[in-house]
């Protein structure tokens, strides 16, 4: 079996508290399991010491010369993956929410050609995750889930999960076109619209270990309108 080139894309904005721990976790994991997950941190114009930490610890990173927001940052990672000819790219949060030991589970269906994209889900199997989320957030996620079902006939449970793996086709797709704002649900719909196969894989996630969620309650209404309109107006197309 050929060995896939695998890249973890870690977007980071003001993550001085967590970023070193996140990278070390990946390096440790590689050593322990004798595997090779490459990683690249995309520093999205952080105003704190994130860049200094990345540089002084000799971590692999790209520092955006200007803040682009989560969508633009993650897309930079996909562009990098495309240029470097990676077979699989995994989005991995820099705030300690995601656990690198689940990556294997996530990429397994892609390696075995069962899916083009996998989403690490907190909800699909309640036992495997102790992730708590507010009632408000759940209502929002269910609404988005309903909109996706309406548009693509496909049920996605954890629509906002930022823990995802994609194959080479999707790396190319995302490097060319990736939504700027609230990219997770919208990019999932773009993939489904092109008739690629998506699988949801149950994973455990940690509570955020610091830093703030990018979704706050004030912006929730705007977020919902934005995402649902984007999903319903998205264009179907071919691979």
């Amino acid at each position: 079996m050929k060995r896939e080139k695998i890249l973890l894309i870690i977007p980071a904005y003001n993550e001085e508290e967590n970023i070193l721990k996140t990278c070390k976790q990946i390096i440790e994991h590689n050593k322990k399991n004798k595997i090779k997950y490459d990683y690249v941190v995309i520093n999205d114009g952080s105003k704190d010491n994130t860049e200094m930490i990345l540089k002084s610890n000799n971590l692999n990173y790209i520092s955006l010369i200007n803040n682009l927001g989560i969508g633009g940052a993650v897309q930079t990672g996909y562009k990098y993956a495309y240029k470097k000819d990676y077979d699989i790219a995994i989005q991995f949060d820099g705030d300690g929410q995601h656990d690198v030991s689940y990556v294997e589970k996530l990429i397994d269906p892609i390696i075995n050609d069962k899916a083009n994209m996998t989403i690490g889900s907190r909800f699909i199997d309640k036992n495997s995750s102790e992730f708590k989320s507010s009632a408000m957030r759940r209502v929002g996620i269910n609404l988005i889930s309903f909109a996706i079902k309406l548009k693509t006939k496909f049920k996605v449970f954890d629509t906002t999960s930022g823990f995802r793996a994609v194959d080479k086709n999707i790396i190319k797709l995302f490097s060319e076109d990736y939504p700027t704002e609230y990219p997770e649900p919208i990019s999932t719909v773009n993939v489904l619209n092109k008739n690629y196969k998506v699988l949801e894989i149950p994973v455990g996630m940690n509570e955020r270990e610091g830093g703030k969620s990018s979704i706050n309650s004030w912006k929730t209404v705007y977020y919902m309108i934005n995402v649902i309109l984007s999903i319903l107006l998205s264009k179907k197309g071919n691979k």
């Binding site: 990173y61 790209i62 520092s63 955006l64 010369i65 200007n66 682009l68 633009g72 897309q75 930079t76 562009k79 990098y80 240029k83 700027t180």
Partner: protein
């Protein structure tokens, strides 16, 4: 339509046209973007100079007075111009994003080779 309003519209439209042409000749305003403004100024001029021509449209569209039609037309023009500007901003945002991404990746490659 009252005569003072007519005079005001004609004077205003002429000043607007002169200012736009001046900006274009000083190369501050590209011809491409000046057209929509020149068209607007010309329309305001026509409204002020030939109110009978406009009066016909006033009753046709259903406005009670010609001045209301003038306000309505200018408002629609502004909305249109704003939409065009929003499109231009969106396009520029996309291009800036692309530049930031490509330069940042390039910068990484360059620094690695140093």
């Amino acid at each position: 339509m009252a005569n003072n309003l007519r005079i005001l519209l004609v004077i205003f439209s002429i000043i607007l046209m002169i200012e736009i042409l001046r900006l274009v000749s000083k190369q501050k305003l590209p011809i491409k973007y000046s057209l929509v403004w020149l068209g607007s100024a010309l329309l305001i001029f026509v409204v002020g100079a030939f109110p009978n021509f406009i009066g016909f449209f006033t009753s046709l569209v259903g406005f009670k007075t010609t001045s209301n039609l003038v306000v309505g037309v200018i408002l629609s023009l502004l909305l249109m111009i704003t939409l065009i500007l929003t499109l231009i901003i969106a396009e520029q945002k996309r291009k800036i994003k692309l530049i930031v991404q490509e330069i940042s990746i390039l910068k990484k490659e360059v620094e690695k080779n140093e």
